[in-house]
């Protein structure tokens, strides 16, 4: 057997191949690309949350040095609005309100940062100078930033014709059965909370270069995207009417996305369209201020939940009502986030027999809101796992025992929830037990006392969570309103001398695909990862693909590769059978070696690939030359990672500052390909979860001015805000994909916020508090402590 030495296959913590490039500053990001004759665009954005545009005078700007063109929506006749990729239906079956999302503002601006005009000039500074010379005659109008205010009678209308600013009023679950369960409940626990709005803040700001080839009439867009084929489809078909054959989209190295680079943004369409007008390439790169006011934000839910319990603490039913902020326009996947990525997760890891959830999505004068790491699932998990703690306390039951009492039993899989999903596998008892042990849950009271002696309040919190990812079965999501399929594509190209190029429709923007996906090839075909190249992010190279989000790259993209490798092996066996004069049925393959079963006759993969490309002795009548196979894989179900997170915090009672002292994550992410990369993914997700719990908040004033519009006011997590994060995995295999993998990209951000907030509330248990809203800033905690002391005085 020709085993790769050292072992680089499934389960090996191979160092990341791409890091040699990144750590030496040799990555090639969009802004690093400079095209011959390149010009620069500056986007003039609205300073108002809501205003009518009475006129735009661009004459002075056009006369400025270096300016090639100034465009407004008046120049873009025939250009479509930015499309929404998901249609939700109201309770009554009617479709959601879907107002036009113009590329440049058409007579009205609806959020601070809404693009109004674009200047194209020889240099970025000249473009910016000229933008300052554009005179926009705004008539400012009252704006509205919160969902509660936006649906109130008489609120300023974001879009004409959208009554009450309501995008949709949707529901899921059996209302009558849920009401019946509540009617016989021993106890009903109520809980309300806000899931704070976040700004994704990928390290690399968005950037785009449009290039029009005057000879061929072809367009190329270089862009900071998680899914170049989706951008080609949306922009080509719906906005600019360019056929796929004339439009290439390249997403080169991308410095973080977290969801914010899934969507088709106005700037991509602007530089692509305008490059044909000025007949020169055009680059646009956001500065951080623009990122704050133009990247899609995340979260922003206001929810009320009610839990019905019997006398023994068994959950009888759950009712949820949620208001979800859509922002001013529908971003590409915004409508599915608070519906099918949220309400379907409300069963969590529990046997709740009936659930009814209502979700109202609301337009406001704020930046559009869309999926951000976890997307809907963090909101559901936070609501449910905080509710579990609140309920346990109200019924006087230990919060761990209460959870265990309601866990889905290990032998109950596949498990059908009352909110559409069917979980394939999981073992919540094991992840819980391991986390309790690692975190020394039992020894906590001693640590609390020790902290008390130092004048600190110490708390411990737990979250037993589940998520649905590996997105997604096309037929299922199609029936739920998706306007796209969510399969994935993989091509395995075995070259004549045995090296391998993989073309994948997924996209790596920090996840380490160039390593993890190469390990799949090493494991199955026995090719060293040094000889496996992963190609992604270019529609001219990769046949097709839906990109990377929803922790889908391995579960869906890896499975497509696995299918393609099966085809390679099947074809290789036929060639090997010919060369070894055996029947195909007798040829076995394992990690790079074809063998006639029960003999010492073997051929290496390289023997076969060379024969396939130099077919001198070859069954040419029966088999085509070459060794390259493509597979499309459409998943049969979502995957369901889950696990247990435990957070331990200390509060400085004098300042209110919450410090993380420990964090334990035990996650079931299915089969682990590279444990080191999984650990890094979980740690990164936990860092963002701690950020949401303790630090981050996109703050608008009531009228829609963005108050936290820079790093001076928006608190990104820093290293010293975090704690040592202990990461372990406990695996149950996914039963419906060939790799048994579930996904690890989002679990950290999904499981951690409620664990942290449960710890904060636990630390404050002597202060009469049963809830603290995120983020738990020092001022907020001090107000609680101080208010309690005032009340006591």
């Amino acid at each position: 057997m020709n085993v790769v030495q050292p072992f680089e296959g499934i389960g090996a913590s191979v160092r990341r191949k791409e890091d040699f490039r990144f750590l030496q500053g040799r990555g090639m990001y969009t802004d690093d690309i400079n095209r011959p004759g390149q010009t620069h665009a500056f986007i003039l954005r609205s300073p108002h949350a809501h205003a009518t545009i009475n006129g735009i005078d661009t004459a002075a700007a056009k006369a400025m040095p270096g300016v090639l063109a100034v465009f407004t929506s008046a120049d873009m006749a025939g250009i479509g609005g930015l499309p929404c990729g998901w249609q939700i239906h109201n309770k009554d079956g009617s479709p959601m309100a879907e107002p036009k999302h113009p590329v440049l503002a058409e007579g009205k601006v609806r959020h601070v940062g809404d693009p109004v005009a674009v200047v194209v000039a020889e240099t970025r500074a000249q473009a910016r100078d000229a933008a300052e010379a554009i005179v926009v005659d705004y008539a400012p109008m009252p704006g509205v930033s919160t969902t509660e205010a936006a649906i109130a009678p008489g609120a300023p209308a974001v879009h004409d014709g959208v009554a009450g600013n309501l995008c949709y009023d949707w529901h899921i679950g059996d209302k009558a059965a849920t009401e019946a369960a509540f009617a016989k409940a021993h106890k009903v626990v109520k809980f309300s909370t806000t899931n704070n709005r976040l700004v994704p803040n990928a390290m690399e700001p968005r950037s785009a270069i449009g290039e029009f080839d005057t000879m061929s009439g072809d367009y190329t867009l270089y862009t900071t995207s998680q899914n170049p084929h989706v951008i080609r489809l949306l922009m080509g078909a719906f906005v600019l009417s360019i056929p796929e054959s004339k439009l290439r989209v390249v997403a080169p190295d991308v410095g973080g996305g977290f969801g914010s680079k899934i969507y088709h943004y106005a700037e991509e369409a602007i530089v692509t369209w305008a490059s044909a007008k000025v007949k020169r390439p055009i680059k646009w790169t956001a500065d951080r201020t623009e990122s704050f006011m133009s990247d899609a934000h995340g979260r922003d839910h206001v929810s009320t939940a009610e839990l019905a319990l019997d006398a023994e603490g068994k959950i009888l039913g759950l009712k949820v009502h949620t208001l979800a902020n859509m922002g001013a326009y529908l971003s590409t996947f915004a409508p599915c986030v608070p519906t099918y990525l949220y309400a379907t997760l409300l069963a969590g890891v529990y046997t709740t027999p009936v659930i009814y959830a209502e979700v109202k999505a609301v337009f406001t004068h704020t930046v559009p809101v869309d999926a951000y790491r976890g997307a809907g699932r963090p909101e559901a998990t936070y609501l449910l796992e905080r509710l579990m703690d609140v309920a346990a306390r109200e019924i006087g039951m230990d919060r761990v025992e209460f959870r265990k009492k309601n866990f889905i039993p290990v032998d109950a899989f596949p498990y059908q929830t009352p909110v559409a999903l069917q979980y394939d596998s999981g073992d919540y008892f094991s992840t819980l037990a391991e986390a309790l042990k690692t975190a020394d849950w039992a020894g906590f009271e001693a640590r609390r006392e020790a902290a008390k002696a130092k004048g600190k309040l110490r708390g411990i919190g737990i979250s037993t969570y589940l998520e649905a990812c590996g997105i997604a079965p096309s037929a299922v999501v199609g029936s739920l309103g998706a306007r796209a399929g969510l399969y994935e594509v993989g091509t395995i190209r075995v070259h004549p001398t045995g090296s391998v190029t993989v073309l994948t429709g997924t996209h790596s923007h920090g996840q380490g695909h160039e390593t993890t996906l190469a390990q799949l090839v090493a494991d199955k075909l026995g090719v060293p990862i040094a000889n496996v190249d992963i190609v992604h992010g270019d529609t001219a190279k990769v046949p097709f693909g839906m990109g990377t989000y929803g922790s889908r790259s391995l579960a869906v993209g890896g499975s497509a590769m696995d299918k393609a490798m099966d085809k390679i092996i099947a074809k290789g066996k036929r060639i090997a059978a010919h060369l070894m004069e055996a029947s195909v049925e007798d040829v076995e393959f394992e990690r790079g070696t074809f063998r006639v079963a029960g003999t010492d006759k073997t051929k290496s993969l390289t023997d076969i690939s060379l024969t396939a490309y130099v077919p001198h002795n070859y069954p040419i009548e029966e088999i085509e030359p070459g060794l390259e196979e493509t597979a499309f894989y459409d998943p049969k179900n979502f995957t369901y990672p889950g696990g247990c997170h435990i957070a331990e915090v200390e509060i400085d009672t004098e300042t209110g500052k919450v410090s993380m002292v420990n964090f334990t994550a035990v996650d079931d992410v299915g089969r682990v390909i590279n444990p080191m990369i999984v650990e890094g993914q979980v740690q990164g997700g936990v860092a963002q979860g701690i950020g949401q719990a303790l630090l981050e908040a996109a703050v608008y004033d009531a009228e829609g001015q963005l108050i936290s519009g820079s790093m001076m006011d928006y608190t990104m997590p820093r290293a010293d805000d975090l704690a040592p994060v202990s990461v372990a995995t406990h695996t149950t295999l996914c039963t419906h994909n060939p790799l048994g993998v579930k996904g690890c990209g989002e679990v950290g951000a999904i499981g951690s916020p409620p664990a942290v907030m449960n710890a904060v509330v636990d630390a404050l248990r002597d202060f009469g508090v049963n809830h603290v809203e995120m983020p738990a800033t020092p001022a907020k905690i001090w107000n609680i402590i101080h208010g309690h002391r005032l009340a006591a005085e």
Binding site: T289, L695, V699, S708, M712, T715, T777, W782, N783, H786
Partner: protein, 265 residues
């Protein structure tokens, strides 16, 4: 940023001459405040006068009972100076807490002092230590120099050249950082020195760094954390924003005063 003329004089006299000739020229030291303002187009000077070529404005020396720090001395140099660490360890520790590594290796003491940002660390330290600010034309006591938020006694075109700090018997500093910016949102520097006990507050007040007479009196009578623990700061003198109310900042000033005294030993 907008276009501007760039000058790099090699002497204080040349720098002052350029600034005197052009009222819209701005001096730049480490650039930690001016540079971001230029990049954000919030400032449009006709010329920028880069002081970094003036070699004799840099360095720390002990002069009898004083520490003298050149205006162009970087925060990192103050933080690691053997003289400062020996004479005023609280000042070295404070300098080590400014911004991040990059800021400490660019930002200068003179720049921070001349800018008098209400959230900057140095102004409170110099007020509490009873320092004297030397300029190209005169010396000014810290009490007279710092005149409220971003306001100083500097005349147009006048440059800070050095800071003279009497060595105190003891001194201490404590601050609560703004969670986002990490600037001080309430910091207190306490010192017991030749000019008596002095207490100065940064970050929290609504008109820049200032001295707190009540705390000075309390500590003069009894140098201990308990002496300031009961002193209530008036919230109407405080800033309030999304990171904390005026009441919270008022409370923090008392807490930081206690901790500063403890740190002073």
């Amino acid at each position: 940023m907008y276009d501007f003329e760039y000058h790099k004089p090699s002497s204080v006299a040349d720098a002052v001459k350029i600034l005197a000739a052009d009222p819209d020229a701005r001096a730049i030291s480490g650039g930690m405040t001016l540079l971001p303002a230029l990049k954000l187009r919030l400032n449009k000077p006709t010329a920028v006068v880069d002081l970094s070529g003036i070699a004799d404005l840099r360095g720390v020396k002990r002069d009898g009972n004083k520490i003298v720090i050149g205006a162009l001395t970087k925060h990192y140099e103050v933080a690691t100076s053997a003289e400062v660490k020996a004479a005023i360890p609280a000042l070295a520790a404070m300098a080590a807490s400014i911004g991040d590594t990059q800021v400490r290796n660019r930002g200068t003491m003179g720049g921070s002092v001349a800018n008098n940002d209400p959230s900057a660390d140095y102004p409170a330290a110099l007020l509490a230590l009873g320092a004297t600010i030397q300029t190209d034309r005169r010396t000014i006591s810290a009490d007279d120099f710092f005149q409220g938020m971003f306001a100083t006694a500097l005349e147009a075109g006048e440059l800070v050249t050095a800071i003279h700090i009497p060595v105190p018997e003891k001194a201490g500093y404590a601050k609560m950082r703004n969670p986002a910016s990490r600037y001080s949102m309430a910091g207190v520097f306490v010192a017991k020195g030749p000019a008596g006990v002095r207490v100065a507050v940064n970050g929290a007040g609504n008109n820049g760094s200032y001295r707190h007479a009540g705390m000075e009196a309390a500590l003069s009578a009894n140098w201990s954390a308990d002496a300031v623990a009961g002193i209530k700061v008036d919230p109407s003198d405080m800033n309030g924003d999304i990171h904390g109310s005026a009441e919270y900042r008022a409370h923090l000033v008392t807490v930081m005063a206690k901790r500063a005294v403890t740190n002073a030993g």
